[in-house]
Symmetry: C2
Subunit: 136 residues, 2 copies
DNA sequence: TATTAAATAGGAGTAATTACTATTTGTCAA
DNA sequence: TTGACAAATAGTAATTACTCCTATTTAATA
């Protein structure tokens, strides 16, 4: 997995720094959809002097080259998605928690022609909304 | 339409104030997916002394009772959706603009059983990502 | 191992949102 | 109608999330 990291970094001309390595490692084992601050707090235990800006910029850089994804956050702070396999989201409108799920039937649905004609489509995701058991 | 507003307000025990009436009217004619500040700027022409907090709280209140919807915003500021008809979104990862579209094939897809069992589902939406012509 | 462009830490600045408080207003029951 | 009261408002302060700036350090390369 970290081999992946070095390889992907070289692919995109990103320098491999200890900070970036640590951030990426945290992402691969992250609880669901961490915020920049979640990652910052965790990486600080290893690099007490790391700045929030470094963490945040690194996450945005990773997202820019496609190593992670920025996901919908409904007005709260930005969340990152380390899971790049095709999948879908359940979003709890109560607590804002996002749960990944897989469902083959959604994966291969066709893009409507009036969208594929107007836009350059790179992906799609079903977002199901509702309440989790804690919020009912 | 404004009759709707009075009716819905009473349904949810919301007091009908001139400020709320104006905000709702702006929403019904809004350009796509206004932010709280968009609405604030517009309502200020009618109520120069209205506070941002009133506008923001009102929008959240409307969303809470289901008169509008809060939509995915990928880390930028919160956006509101006045269109309650079943529809889907194209999201431009370049400029962040969200375009509504209708597509019957997506509307009646079944919710996977492992989701409907775990959660109380209230809605679903296909979110297609990519670049608009301005951002390619 | 010297060069150089990129990355970092630290802090300042900005934008979006939320909290607080005194005052005003809409609703409902008498 | 009117009076009581809970809810809503304006104005402002505070907080949170994010971005920008600059001097210094570091990774990649040749």
């Amino acid at each position: 997995m970290m081999m992946d990291f070095d390889e992907k970094s070289r692919q995109h001309q990103l320098k491999i720094t200890p900070q970036r390595t640590a951030i990426f490692k945290i992402l691969t084992t992250a609880r669901n959809h961490p915020t920049a601050d979640n990652v910052y707090q965790e990486v600080k235990t290893e690099f007490p002097n790391i700045s929030f800006d470094t963490v945040n910029r690194t996450l945005l850089t990773f997202a820019e080259v496609g190593m992670i994804e920025v996901i919908e956050s409904n007005g709260h702070c930005r969340r990152f998605e380390p899971n790049l396999k095709t999948h879908h989201h359940f979003y709890c409108v109560g607590c804002g928690e996002i749960t990944d799920f897989f469902h083959k039937e959604y994966d291969n649905l066709e893009i409507p022609e009036n969208i594929s004609r107007r836009f350059h489509v790179t992906g799609k995701r079903m977002v199901i909304k509702g309440l989790c058991d804690k919020c009912i």
